[in-house]
Symmetry: C2
Subunit: 427 residues, 2 copies
């Protein structure tokens, strides 16, 4: 690991080498000061740069599109997203310039600095975008195989379609909440004890998390023209961590034949800072070989997996001690983001700015790389043994799950911050 | 049939007895005059009453909530929906009063009449609500059985969960469009010719409609507290016709295990006028007996099926002649709207004003009461024979489908207008 010496990446703001938010990252989020209005900001080190205030100060005035209406004085990123890639690049470059050691515009303007810089610890984060459609994929081969075995047995674990298309379903957009929001254990119908019996009803006994990464669509296709894999890279705004909370017993009973519904729709947690695709470019790596070959509309050029380290941490109720229960990596994903977006529009479906497309659980081949309790504990048969004699088949009330993700560069990391949530007892 | 003599229902606007929009109906929609801004209106006979203009004229000024901000000067009904049932009742009563024969407020105010009354033929209708989540149920037993046989064979046609819960999935909200919008035949992956073979790709060969009825949630549960069946009636704003366009070959190949995705997400048509629950009250009838008995959270009091006649008409390409291909009735639905809404929130999921919950195809027991081509033609095996020697296994380019629905009262009908759309060739 070497530290970068690129002067463009040295800032007058101190950023610790293990910060998730160095100059190389500059993720976007929507935040609120106590009692204040929501606004779009960028995270750097321990600070948030308030882009709405910078816009008022005419910092973006000379930029096409971005300089017009104040698209940062908003409670969501959608208006900025809709401006498209050139505008994102221009804004990112301008913010990066402002924060450079050799740039005095903001550094030496104390009045503006006071208005536009706020400590991350002092703000509340909100959902970064108004999401019109939330689509959840199922793009990890290890995950699909493991879950398939438990839901349907080894013979039909991986359905015949799986290697030909990125399987997906529409999730519940109202379930989306930002890291820090508690998750209440859902009630629902539970599978009959024996085939042909009557279902039960009550709080789920099989509450689970799912370690995922999602991306926000920036530029949609309002015309209903499919977005090709070649066009997809320009349409993707940025990435977040996603915890697709799941109630396995509810899901197992309800999901035939139309897919998951109440087993998923009670909560989905996302990390608040949207890491731009531009910040992830240095971490593009080859993905898994796709065999059989994919249909032409799913072919793509270049490397489109990301070397993005992923972790899940469990803090059992009553302890303050987070235990890492999963280490995975997004590069394991079989279907990449370009393919997902091309697939999701190939029928002419419209994607709009703010749509969220999530990866599905990102599992690896070993037990310590499995991204949900269902897989880790083999549907509860083999509970996790945690320090202090604590055992977990599934999650208990008071448990917290924290997801982390980062790309490791030489002397810096492009991180996602945390996606964390605590389980509340059923109502 | 007797004509009503209730003077409250006589209007100074002439309404033909076979109009879908008599005084008993007064449905809400969002419309736009040529070059004008969108506004909320009410349909009566051949007219639209512009509620935004009435609001400006202080017609609602004395009503709690409704009288405050102009919630009708909007491009969607959501703000009005969010005011809740008392506000809907107050507004409905006020509009009804204004239109009565014995009320001169609007009738004798020519300036206001010119501003606030516009012919339906002269306006463009828009989506009535911004829909956060669109949920499609599968609540017709005949439909679920028929489709199950064709997708999975008779042994597992009706899954074990079907009689215990109203099966549903989340649909694509960007697919929603209002009657009159054309539907482009989608491309997609097509099932392999033989098991284990490679999928094809191209325009769907099995384009289908689905005859459904949906309701808009008016009052949501932002707190995540379930909406009970007892509370559900107050939360439902009104009903529309829904055509859930489907590509059966795409759907059959993709839907395992997570449900329909691209086979549905290309288009969903709805009728533009939202018929208030209040207008449907006189047509509440007992629904099918539910056996086995349902779980307590799905029990309800009173009659909650609706005697709502439904029809589907096909206009084959190149002819101007619409042929009725289905007559059904919403009273056949096994799971009712109260149960659907209670189920969709029992896990604490949030429903928001403007969410759309659709019935699923409303099929009856006979061939002429089946609500989609898949059932009518037994997956194409038994094509429809239409006048002029025209045959249809599924829909062809240039074909139009028109859905109609109405409740027949003595001398009047509470109708839904049309939900119509034409098939364009694949891109």
């Amino acid at each position: 690991m070497e530290e970068t010496n690129d002067p463009k990446l040295r800032s007058w703001i101190e950023v610790s080498p293990d910060s998730d938010f160095p100059m190389q990252n500059l993720p976007y989020g929507v935040f609120r000061r106590p009692g204040g209005l929501p606004a779009v900001g960028v995270a750097v080190g321990d600070w948030v740069v308030d882009l709405a205030r910078l816009h008022e100060a005419r910092i973006f005035a000379d930029l096409p599109q971005v300089g017009n209406e104040n698209c940062f004085a908003r409670a969501q990123l959608n208006d900025f997203m809709a401006l498209g890639k050139r505008a994102w690049e221009a804004a990112r470059t301008r913010v990066s310039e402002l924060l450079r050691s050799n740039n005095s515009t903001l550094r030496n303007n104390e009045a503006l600095r006071r208005k536009a810089m706020v400590r991350r610890a002092d703000v509340e984060m909100m959902l970064p975008a108004a999401c019109g459609d939330y689509i959840d994929f199922y793009s990890s081969r290890h995950h699909a195989s493991n879950v398939g075995i438990m839901f349907r047995g080894p013979a039909s674990a991986l359905q015949p379609n799986w290697v030909h298309l990125p399987v997906a379903y529409h999730g519940c957009t109202s379930s989306l909440g930002v890291s820090g929001r508690d998750v209440r254990r859902p009630n629902g119908q539970l599978p009959p004890a024996a085939a042909g019996g009557l279902p039960g009803f009550g709080p789920t006994c099989e509450l689970d998390f799912e370690l995922e990464v999602g991306f926000f669509v920036g530029t949609g296709n309002d015309d209903g023209r499919p977005i090709s894999t070649a066009e997809a890279a320009d349409a993707i705004f940025g990435f977040v961590l996603v915890n697709d909370w799941s109630a396995r017993d509810i899901q197992r009973w309800e999901y035939q034949p139309l897919g998951p519904f109440l087993g998923k729709s009670f909560a989905t947690s996302i990390s608040p800072w949207v890491v731009p695709l531009a910040a992830l470019e240095p971490f593009r790596v080859p993905g898994p070989v796709q065999d059989p070959p994919v249909l032409p509309y799913l072919r793509y050029r270049g490397d489109w997996a990301f070397d993005l380290n992923l972790e899940a941490w469990l803090t059992p109720q009553g302890t303050g001690d987070a235990v890492r229960i999963c280490r995975s990596n997004l590069r394991l994903l079989y279907w990449n983001a370009l393919q997902q977006l091309a697939h999701a529009t190939v029928n002419g479906a419209r994607r709009r700015p703010g749509d969220l497309l999530a990866s599905g659980t990102v599992s690896g081949p070993t037990r310590d790389s499995m991204g949900c309790m269902l897989e880790i504990t083999r549907n509860g048969a083999d509970p996790l043994e945690l320090p202090g004699g604590i055992r977990r088949a599934f999650l208990q009330d008071g448990d917290s799950i924290t997801l982390r993700g980062w790309c490791q560069g030489p002397g810096y990391r492009v991180g996602f911050g945390e996606c964390t949530a605590r389980v509340l007892p059923a109502a």
